[in-house]
């Protein structure tokens, strides 16, 4: 089963290589991975989606936790979470079909962020499924380029998740 896991880590040189190296070496099946700043200076926040059985999901957390620079880990799969991904999609567009594309963009609450004589760049933020579905429709017009960020996740509600925790693996 797929799990969404958040890991907080010190923003130190080599920390990304350590995490990536660990995923590779231990043969974990990582489907998506994003990393960026957290609310705490010096602490980065990584969201990743990993597929595996219970043993593998426990292992991925326990092994990550052994990395000296990893300060906290949380499996949010069974929590109420907001999960979002951002995509930029460049599609072929001319006078014959531009209106049709704009209509789709409206329906999906996406945005057009660049217009040229024969192309458009569309930006969409949303769940993976919503993006997948827009991509499918846009592919009829010819997708010239695409970039997707991978998913980021945040648990709903007022409880904050301390980026440094002392109880080990959740």
């Amino acid at each position: 089963m797929k799990h969404t896991i958040i890991a907080w880590m010190e923003d130190k040189p080599g920390v990304l290589s350590r995490v990536a190296g660990l995923f590779r070496r231990r043969n974990f099946n990582i489907e998506s991975l994003t990393v960026g700043h957290s609310e705490t200076p010096g602490i980065s926040r990584m969201t990743f989606v990993v597929d595996g059985d219970d043993r593998q999901i426990y292992q991925v957390q326990a092994q990550l936790f052994k990395l000296i620079n990893v300060t906290a880990i949380e499996d949010v799969t069974h929590e109420p979470t907001v999960i979002r991904e951002l995509a930029l999609i460049k599609v072929r567009a001319d006078n014959t079909n531009r209106a049709e594309i704009i209509q789709l963009v409206d329906i999906y609450r996406a945005n057009i962020v660049d217009v040229d004589v024969d192309s458009l760049i569309i930006q969409i933020a949303g769940s993976q499924e919503r993006i997948d579905s827009l991509v499918k429709l846009l592919s009829n017009f010819g997708i010239l380029e695409m970039v997707r960020t991978g998913q980021v996740a945040m648990v709903r509600g007022g409880n904050t998740r301390p980026p440094v925790r002392h109880n080990g693996v959740s």
């Binding site: 010190e10 080599g14 070496r25 000296i68 620079n69």
Partner: protein, 571 residues
């Protein structure tokens, strides 16, 4: 304001603050400032010059295992640093406390593929517990403090510090920090959860065929007394892993040997048939368990380890206990009931008698087989009153089977990585850490040649190592596998050996050769009587195999056994 010091001075002063007495290393361009500071300021640290940096890493590892304190090795950038890697990986697999210091090209040349640049920080990421690249002298003292702390606390392991050459030369105000700042590092320093401990006790109290499997973790945690106390109180037999040997004296009535691919057959039967198994500080790796799904099929498993990642890594665990072995066993002991498992012990004794009937030494032959030498050595050291360091191969297994270890921290061997070439350099570290004890090296003719250049270190440092080479003319363990599984096609396993007696002689080390059983005791006595290093070249029977043997991917229940003498005659 604190005094200004160079990075090179900071290295030595910090090592002194960490209580370091000896450093194993070999200098080069990128460590010249560090070495110069040692000469200039005459720091009271013994620097042992090695022949090859792999040796330096094994020495630091041996020192770490033998003393429980951090062993330190040093190498220059590029090839010096890459030469350390085998030793670091060895120390990592066997959880040994080591700090490795390497020189690196100056910060201005980093990433430009300059002379002798190798990205040792990247290379060693997955074979160290942690590592650092230091590009600013102001960070150096803090990094050294953290490196030592990480290496020795929790589950010990090697930590590498790569220091750019200009950092060694730059100056800063030197204050050795009192504290580490490691928000993500929280080693387990306490006993396991009390509820889980009481559930474990309950399971043990109900068991009919309980067994304790003790690993290296018991020794690292100095939990031997607690282990024995628990075993005696609840009358539970104690098996060990290869690295757990010595956790209980092997002459203790509850000691039932060590298990695994070439472990004792009766031990494997006991593990397989147990109904409750308490694993303490062992990783349950495949060499011990055989095919994971077939290991101890009837047992409920309680697994105590301070590393949460070991619990459930390879086997399904019924009661995981995350805790320090010593503290957790202390909590467990009052909860287990005094017990007698007489019929279970009798069953194990029966398996042991069967093992004894198949014993190589019970067979009528005059061949100089390695077990004979191991037994003789045991007798001539007053029943194992010495430290043994073994290399990797058949001789390693025979030593483990035939030498009854009674001494704590008395056997050192490369278990996890199985590194040929480990024994001689590791023994140098062991001897320096435990100067008042007799250290015997047992190595194969193949592995010995991988690091025998360190004979120079032995001679130079005047270390009284007693070195036994089990010279069978083959990469014996591989030859054995070719014998059993590849129809005796001995592909590239026959060795072309030098005359080891002459080799020793060339270093000024006295040596002798033994070709038959009659010469064994005399040679061992001669080695012991000599006040200094001594080497014995034992020309052993080449085609003897180690039994039992578990084929890869097979169950420990399906061991290949040495035939009974009667069966041999029938053939």
């Amino acid at each position: 304001m604190a005094e200004k010091k160079s990075g090179a001075q900071i290295v030595w002063e910090s090592l002194l603050r960490e209580g370091v007495e000896v450093v194993f290393g070999l200098p080069g361009g990128a460590t010249l400032p560090i070495y110069d500071a040692l000469a200039k300021y005459e720091y009271p640290i013994r620097h042992v010059l090695v022949t090859h940096e792999q040796g330096a890493a094994h020495m630091a590892d041996g020192y770490g295992r033998a003393t429980g304190r951090v062993g330190v090795c040093m190498a220059t950038s590029g090839p010096g640093a890459t030469n350390l890697t085998t030793g670091l990986a060895t120390a990592y697999m066997d959880s040994s406390p080591v700090v490795a210091i390497t020189g690196q090209v100056p910060t201005s040349l980093l990433g430009r593929d300059g002379f002798q640049e190798a990205d040792i920080h990247g290379v060693t990421m997955t074979i160290t517990k942690h590592n650092y690249l230091v590009t600013d002298v102001r960070a150096l003292a803090q990094v050294i403090k953290e490196a030592f702390y990480i290496a020795r606390t929790g589950r010990p392991g090697p930590v590498l510090i790569d220091i750019c050459k200009d950092v060694q030369q730059a100056e800063t105000e030197y204050v050795y920090p009192d504290e580490v700042n490691l928000p993500g590092y929280r080693p387990t320093l306490t006993a396991a959860d009390p509820d889980a401990i009481s559930r474990a006790a309950h399971l043990l109290n109900l068991a009919e065929r309980p067994i304790i499997l003790a690993g290296h973790g018991v020794i690292i945690a100095n939990a031997e007394d607690e282990l024995i106390h628990l075993a005696e109180k609840a009358h539970i037999p104690v098996a060990t892993s290869l690295l757990g040997i010595g956790a209980i004296p092997q002459t203790h009535p509850l000691s039932i040997g060590w298990g695994g691919m070439h472990g004792e057959a009766f031990t494997n039967y006991a593990l397989q048939e147990s109904d409750v198994m308490l694993v303490v500080g062992a990783r349950l790796d495949d060499r011990l368990t055989g095919a994971f799904s077939t290991f101890a099929p009837k047992a409920r498993i309680i697994h105590l380890d301070l590393d949460p990642a070991e619990l459930g890594k390879n086997l399904r665990i019924d009661i995981p206990l995350v805790g320090d072995a010593k503290l957790t066993l202390r909590e467990l002991i009052p909860l287990v009931e005094p017990n007698q498992h007489t019929s279970w012990m009798e069953q194990i004794a029966e398996w042991k008698r069967d093992t004894d009937r198949r014993d190589l030494l019970a067979q009528e032959t005059d061949d100089l087989v390695p077990p004979f030498i191991v037994r003789q050595l045991w007798h001539l050291t007053d029943g194992g009153n010495c430290i043994v360091v073994t290399d990797v191969g058949q001789h390693q297994m025979w030593e483990a089977q035939y030498f009854l270890h009674v001494k704590r921290r008395g056997l050192f061997t490369s278990g996890g990585l199985g590194t040929m070439g480990f024994a001689l350099p590791a023994a140098i570290g062991v001897q320096l850490g435990r100067p008042n004890e007799t250290v015997w090296v047992i190595a194969g003719d193949g592995g010995f040649q991988m690091t025998m250049g360190e004979l120079s270190t032995v001679a130079k440092e005047g270390l009284p190592l007693k070195i036994a080479i089990f010279n069978n003319g083959y990469l014996g363990m591989v030859r054995q596998w070719q014998d059993v599984f590849y129809n005796k096609r001995y592909a590239s396993t026959a060795l072309y050996n030098p005359d080891f007696v002459k080799i020793a002689d060339a270093y000024g080390i006295p040596a002798t050769r033994v070709t038959d059983r009659a010469g064994v005791a005399t040679a061992i006595r001669q080695a012991q009587a000599h006040n200094g290093p001594f080497l014995i070249d034992f020309r052993v029977e080449p085609f003897t195999n180690v039994y039992p043997m578990v084929a890869p991917g097979k169950s420990n229940a399906d061991m290949i056994r040495r035939p009974l003498p009667a069966e041999v005659e029938e053939e």
